[in-house]
Symmetry: C2
Subunit: 151 residues, 2 copies
DNA sequence: GCCGAATGGTTGCACATGAAACCATATACG
DNA sequence: CGTATATGGTTTCATGTGCAACCATTCGGC
C-alpha cells in the first residue's frame, strides 16, 4: 500500500504542498510584470483594488475576510493606495471605527486598463487545460481549501 | 462567449493565480506547525533537508535547480542547517567552488522522525480527493507549470 | 449612564526574501 | 602561461510580511 512507504523514498517532487507553492510562485511571477513592474502595485495592493472594483464599497475588515490576508497587510496596502490617490477612504457614518473604501476615478481607470490584460495573461496560463479541466481544477482546489478555513 | 466579459465583472474568487496562492498559503500554514513550530525550520530549510534526504549528496546549485529557489535563499538555508549541525558541507574535490552537502546523523534522525508525520498531514489535506483526483490534480499542475519554466 | 470587553484599524519589531554587487575559483582563449 | 570571462556561492540592501502590542470607538451588562 502507498501508506506504507518508508521515509527513505520521500520525494518533494510528489509532495502536494511543495508543488502547490512552486506553481503559485511561478504563476504569480508571470503576472507580476503587469501590476508590479508596470504600475508599482504589489500583490496585496492589487487584491485590494480588485475587490474594491468588484464589490464597492468595502471596509478593511471585509477585504481582510475576502482575501484572508493579515489585517496589517490590508492596512498597509490601503494606505499606499490612498497615498497614490487610487482609493478613497471615508469614515463610516454608522461606526467611526470603520472606513468605507472605494476606487477613485484614477483607480477605476487603472483597473479598466489592467483587468483585460490580466485576463489575457490568465488565459495564456490556462491554455494547457481544456475549459472542463479548468473548472475541475478550481473545484478540486475549493474542496481542498474548505477544511482549512479557520475561524 | 466567456472571452467577452467586460472588466466590470472581474472577480478574484474565480481568478486562478489568486486562488492558487491562497490555497498554497493555507496548506503551507497547515504544515508549518510540524517543521516550523516544533523544529524551528522554515520552508526553505525544510526543502533543503528533504532534497538532501532524497538524493544525497547535492551542491547548492543542484538544490537551487531542484527547488527553483533563489540562490541567496538556498545559501542562507544551508548556512542555518550547517550551524545547527543538521547538514555537513565539504568542498568538492573536483571543483573548490562547489560544496557537497549531506545530512548529518542528526539531520537524518530529524527527517526520519519528521517525514512520517508530514506524510500523515498531507494525507489529511488530500482526504477530500479520491486518489484518482489527486493524480489528476498533480498532472494538471505539471502541465500548467511546464510553460513557465524559465532558463 | 458607566465600566469592562470586544472590535476595526495602526504601528513596532523581527525576520524572510529577491535583486544586485561582490568574492573566489575554474575555464577559455590568446 | 596570463588575462578575460563564466560560475558557485555569499553578503548587502530595500522591501514585504506576520505577530503582538497598541489606540480609538462601540457594545453589553449592570
Amino acid at each position: 500500500m502507498a501508506e506504507h512507504r518508508s521515509s527513505a523514498d520521500f520525494d518533494l517532487e510528489h509532495f502536494l504542498p511543495y508543488r502547490l507553492d512552486r506553481l503559485a510562485d511561478r504563476v504569480s511571477e508571470a503576472l507580476a510584470r503587469l501590476y508590479e513592474h508596470e504600475h508599482g502595485l504589489n500583490v496585496a495592493q492589487w487584491r485590494v483594488l480588485a475587490w474594491l472594483h468588484h464589490q464597492p464599497p468595502m471596509t478593511a475588515k471585509q477585504i481582510r475576510d475576502a482575501t484572508r490576508m493579515d489585517k496589517a497587510r490590508v492596512s498597509r496596502a490601503v494606505q499606499a493606495l490612498e497615498g497614490r490617490g487610487l482609493v478613497w477612504r471615508r469614515p463610516s457614518p454608522h461606526d467611526q471605527r470603520w472606513h468605507d473604501l472605494r476606487l477613485s476615478e484614477a483607480g477605476q481607470q487603472l483597473m479598466a486598463e489592467l483587468i483585460p490584460r490580466v485576463r489575457e495573461r490568465e488565459a495564456q496560463l490556462l491554455a494547457p487545460l481544456t475549459s472542463q479541466e479548468r473548472e475541475q481544477l478550481l473545484e478540486m482546489m475549493a474542496r481542498l481549501e474548505r477544511p482549512l478555513q479557520e475561524g
